[in-house]
Symmetry: C2
Subunit: 433 residues, 2 copies
């Protein structure tokens, strides 16, 4: 049992002097009180653990490697595939471990890994067909964060029946039944949830969507949705339906489902997402970097759609920055400030993200919740002078001091238990080049 005394803690907003008692990784008491004699002190503003609801860990190898030739999402994808074609399980483990450690430094206590890199280059199967998934599970445990493995079904190269290309062979289990059988063989472990994903309407034929949805019953189910206009055009051409309508028709949407990006939506799409209880994961740094555009996130929230946030391609390892960018992008297109309140952004970063990843018992500083605590420095060169209630809109990953995951200190004074994470990243990425 440990009691943490927080200089300030985010309950529904910032509250000064909060004692948080933890036993077995779970919060057993929260009280506004002076520090007790044995308390461990957390300086600054303590947020609940942040959930990165959409990660492709291996994309971290592309940071600062794709800005030289212009192009589009689709030319970027070719560069991404060049990395996807090379990774072996050991390289995947090293890269994901370092990437998750970078996220932990940013205050992330739980990662949703949208994982489609399943099989050896060119196809075939590893001796254990879940070797690549096991590398991710291992990586998260080493980095000290919880993981929801969103094991992804990826079967086709496009809505027009385009066959898989050489790289995409790695992604495919052949059909949805075989995908489901492989996923069913993954053993649950503490700190791990096994979820599911439909890569996109481009990658799973309409007549196999229901199989994926059925296998995902009771687990988080994620899907890339309308990130680029070309996906919408292809879906309309092939099926006469928007991607949202297609997913709805085949039972993919619902309260356990999270649609990722949701940038290019019709009014009907927004109504469908709301009516089905589907959540949306915005990934603002990726949506800017890949020139996806600015999604209707305020309209989605107004319709009752829960929003969470993802770092996606790891163009930045700063989940607080994703929340700020979400807000800033809405300001840029609306001419209005304060499109989301700081409290709404904290909910997206914490409770909503954890719920989308299948951890309803995490993301709040409250009795019965997992003891995930993220202490943010209020007096850095970046944050000095800021009102505590607005700190989530000002602080960056570099302002995260201590990170506690399920009662365990993973980051202390900005240093990760694994040591120099920059060096781990450089080694893992260097090994790929």
């Amino acid at each position: 049992m440990t009691t943490w005394w927080c200089e300030s803690a985010w309950l529904d907003g910032p509250v000064d002097g909060v004692r948080v008692t933890e036993a077995g990784g779970v919060i057993t008491a929260v009280e506004v009180a002076d520090p007790g004699p044995g308390d461990r002190r957390l300086a600054g503003l303590v947020l609940p653990g942040l959930a990165d609801a959409h990660s492709h860990a291996f994309h971290r190898a592309l940071r600062g490697r794709t800005h030289d030739g212009g192009g589009s999402f689709w030319t970027w994808r070719r560069q991404m595939y060049a990395v996807a074609a090379r990774l072996d399980p050991d390289q995947y483990l090293a890269l994901a471990r370092a990437t998750y450690a970078e996220l932990a430094l940013a205050g992330v206590t739980c990662v949703g890994e949208f994982s489609y890199l399943h099989h050896p280059p060119g196809g075939g199967r590893y001796a254990d067909p879940n070797t690549m998934s096991e590398a991710l599970v291992h990586a998260a445990a080493d980095a000290g964060v919880r993981l929801t493995l969103l094991d992804t079904c990826y079967l086709t190269g496009g809505l027009d029946g385009t066959p898989l290309d050489d790289v995409q062979q790695r992604f495919s289990d052949g059909d949805a039944e075989a995908w489901a059988a492989r996923v069913a063989a993954l053993a649950p472990r503490p700190g791990l949830r096994i979820g599911a994903a439909v890569h996109s309407v481009r990658a799973v034929p309409a007549d196999q969507l229901a199989t994926v949805a059925a296998a995902a019953q009771g687990r988080p189910l994620h899907v890339h949705l309308s990130e680029q206009p070309a996906e919408n055009a292809a879906a309309l051409a092939a099926t006469g339906r928007t991607p949202t309508a297609l997913l709805a028709e085949h039972g993919v949407l619902g309260p356990g489902t999270t649609a990722v990006h949701a940038v290019h939506l019709t009014a009907d799409d927004i109504a469908t997402l709301a009516a089905t209880g589907t959540g949306v994961c915005a990934c603002p740094s990726t949506e800017a970097d890949l020139a996806d555009g600015i999604g209707p996130f305020r309209r989605l929230a107004d319709a009752g759609v829960p929003l969470c946030l993802g770092s996606d391609q790891h163009v930045r390892g700063d989940l607080l920055g994703e929340a700020r960018a979400l807000e800033e992008h809405q300001r840029l297109v609306s001419g209005e400030r304060g499109r989301f309140t700081p409290a709404e952004l904290v909910t997206a970063l914490t409770a909503a993200g954890h719920r989308a990843l299948g951890w309803p018992d995490a993301g709040r500083i409250a009795v019965g919740q997992r003891a995930d605590l993220v202490a943010v420095r209020p007096h850095s060169v970046r944050t000095a002078g800021c009102a505590p209630g607005e700190l989530p809109l000002v602080a960056t990953a570099a302002d995260v001091g201590t990170v506690v995951v399920g009662g365990r200190v993973v980051v202390e004074d900005g240093r990760h238990a694994l040591g120099d994470v920059g060096a781990l990243l450089a080694a893992a990425i260097g090994d790929l080049r």
Copy 2:
């Protein structure tokens, strides 16, 4: 005389192993060579000094203080005026010193301060009418950065003849002649340029613009331009002209002039800026924070308008982040990546910014240029794995290691010569509240 050996230095792009020799604050030799025995070593990628071409230092007190109530640019301005109404010269000095030190930590070696806080609260004059300007000069010297004081003419409350409100009394010299006389009394000093500014077409009557332009001959002249649609509407209603056309008509535009923001422009406005040789200063973090919108910066550059960057209201103290946001905002509205090359962004951050501030002899690592060097860490948790040529699109202020201004080390290993800048900021801002 000092010789710096740079692991890598940005000449037209990154070059490994560059010796830079400095004497009297000026670069006397640049050579690709192994380090010599007495060389001082700069690790990482060494950029030329960055120029923050548009700063309102006192706005730093508003960071993280205006996000709670929604609103617009105009409601934000009321909060800003509440700070403007209070500052005395000592408070102004302390706040500007800490703010400029934050900029130095971010690699800024030269600041353009767009300064309109001239007189005591409610009007009147300080014993030295340039007391507030002298506070800024003092602050920059303490922080170790060069300063271009863009002393700003501010005379009216609006294009419709609205009188100055109580706070705006501090800004006004009465008329343009009196403004010019006061500015003429400022003595030039090493490390200081005296420039001029028209606050905006809202604040200087059309019939006094020519007086300001004449007084600014041979100095940098800056002007806020079309930051908000309301300014355009007011100008059209009052004069039948866009703000750009109005400035052109009265001789304010030209190669010595920099238009700040330039977000809401017509095609004719763009052509006018290009034809007159006027530069544009984008302030992307402010333009997002204040919901200004996304300016036509790629179209301006294509028309031949030189672009530079400013941190403006100091919503972030990260000039590298301004360059990244400039590029990201263009991606968001165009659907295309690589709207600016990394080299174009470095030019905006360095040589173009210095030129806009009247320092054509700064902003490049070349013989005859001022010895301003900014070493950026390539192996941090943020930058690890990045290609050197793309580092300017990835690194943040937190990745700046050493900063040399005119041969003098101002920041070493991320620490400013003044000490804990977060504490300086907290004290200066706390004193105001």
